[in-house]
């Protein structure tokens, strides 16, 4: 499981953000180390960030989330203090609160550093999409898909977290750009968060399209999962 570091100007802010994210984890979660405040006030201290990186160290890597600008400076400087880390340490531009919640959840689920970072960075999307509903979305750019299919969601919950993650995982490893469209929106199929923002429930028709060498395989994989109800049909 990856480790996580939170770098904030405020200890209270960092601790509250960690507590909020912990609410989402039931069972074992990732180590989340905090480096926050400096000299007893607001600020960041690169030596504290370094210590937090060491505390959260994991062979699976460490993801570092930061708040305002100088937290980024301190985190970058922390990488230079002492020998390079034996394991990957990745600084992410993810928003601190939303990103931390997404990161803790995905890390607890055993996702790798790359995936957790991607999910954390996409964590503003639900807010962006929900606030964008008041304004018309730009028309979808017509992309000449190599392969596409219209599919009906038959499982009870539609594209909720688990099916979205299944699709993202299945297409993530393929050499193809895969998109899912529903209700005038388009989501990158390799991002489970984007898929969730489609809000596609049972009975919704979605269009899966793909471009690239593995386009056919990608659409076939999504079709198979959708038609099988993401393994949820037997249970319902």
């Amino acid at each position: 499981m990856i480790g996580i570091v939170v770098v904030s100007h405020s200890l209270a802010l960092a601790e509250a953000a960690v507590a909020l994210a912990d609410e989402m984890v039931h069972g074992e979660g990732p180590v989340v180390a905090v480096a926050a405040g400096a000299a007893g006030g607001f600020g960041t201290d690169a030596t504290e960030v370094r210590r937090a990186m060491e505390k959260a160290a994991s062979p699976d890597g460490v993801l570092v989330l930061m708040d305002l600008g100088s937290a980024v400076l301190s985190a970058e400087l922390a990488l230079e203090l002492g020998p390079p880390s034996e394991h990957a340490v990745r600084l992410t531009a993810a928003p601190m609160v939303e990103g931390l919640v997404a990161a803790v959840v995905r890390a607890a689920g055993g996702a790798d550093l790359e995936t957790v970072a991607r999910e954390a960075e996409a964590a503003l999307l639900p807010k962006v999409v929900s606030l964008a509903e008041h304004t018309p979305l730009p028309a979808l750019v017509a992309v000449e898909a190599d392969v596409s299919a219209r599919l009906m969601l038959v499982n009870p919950q539609g594209l909720h977290a688990r099916p979205a993650a299944q699709i993202a995982t299945a297409v993530g490893g393929l050499s193809a750009e895969v998109a899912v469209e529903s209700g005038g929106r388009r989501a990158d199929a390799s991002s489970s968060l984007e898929l969730m923002t489609l809000g596609a429930g049972q009975g919704t028709e979605i269009t899966v399209s793909a471009v690239g060498a593995d386009a056919e395989q990608a659409v076939a994989a999504v079709r198979e999962m959708v038609e099988a109800g993401f393994g949820e049909l037997e249970a319902s």
């Binding site: 301190s74 970058e76 400087l77």
Partner: protein, 216 residues
């Protein structure tokens, strides 16, 4: 200010005197730095540097035996005690300068320039600032250029440092009409125009302290 030809090489003690002069300068001008920062930032630049330089002077007593150890101690102390963006930025400046001088105990003009340049390059790497972004770079970069040009013309380090300090002051003043593109001030957009950048102002104090120290 005494004879300009007294200092031909900079010893560790002389570097400590420079730091001490900078500490005095941030105390003297702390309110001014904070006032600049209250216009376009979070109003703590003066207080942060006072806290940082007080911690530095405590940490370098007794002074380490060589310039690299001294400057490294300065950098690490600033990193842990300043808090704001100037902590990692000034910290990086001194840490990179420390690496550049190594275990030298005396720096001649070119060695001093190399150290300062390495520090500036560290700030650029850290802050990604470019000329005209309204940052400390706008005071430090012209100062390094002036220092180098003066040394090349064959003058003493003290004279070169004064030329550099003057260039830093001009660079500081030139930040006033600039639109901030980096740091917290960039959130203000057009409202940052018409104020001198606090980091450029403290950088000018750092160079002025160097010139004063080498002239005394």
């Amino acid at each position: 200010m005494g004879s300009l030809s007294v200092v031909e090489a900079v010893t560790v003690d002389r570097l400590v005197a420079w730091l001490s002069a900078f500490r005095d300068a941030v105390h003297e001008h702390g309110a001014y730095l904070t006032e600049l920062d209250s216009a376009i930032g979070d109003a703590d630049h003066g207080a942060n540097l006072i806290r940082g330089m007080d911690a530095v002077m405590a940490a370098v007593e007794p002074p380490p035996g060589n310039a690299g150890d001294l400057l490294k101690k300065v950098g690490m102390t600033l990193v842990t005690s300043v808090g704001g963006a100037s902590g990692p930025l000034y910290g990086t400046f001194f840490l990179r300068a420390a690496t550049a001088v190594g275990d030298a105990t005396v720096l001649d003009g070119p060695a001093l320039l190399t150290a300062l340049r390495a520090g500036l390059e560290g700030i650029v790497a850290r802050g990604k600032a470019e000329a005209g972004d309204k940052t400390m770079y706008d005071a430090l970069a012209p100062a390094m250029g002036a220092f180098e040009e003066a040394l090349a013309s064959g003058v003493e380090p003290a004279v070169a440092a004064r030329t550099a300090a003057d260039a830093a002051a001009a660079g500081r003043d030139a930040t006033e009409p600039m639109l901030a593109l980096k740091g917290r001030a960039s959130y203000l957009g057009e409202r940052s125009v018409g104020h001198v950048d606090p980091g450029a102002a403290s950088s000018a104090l750092l160079l002025a302290a160097l010139a004063d120290t080498l002239e005394s």
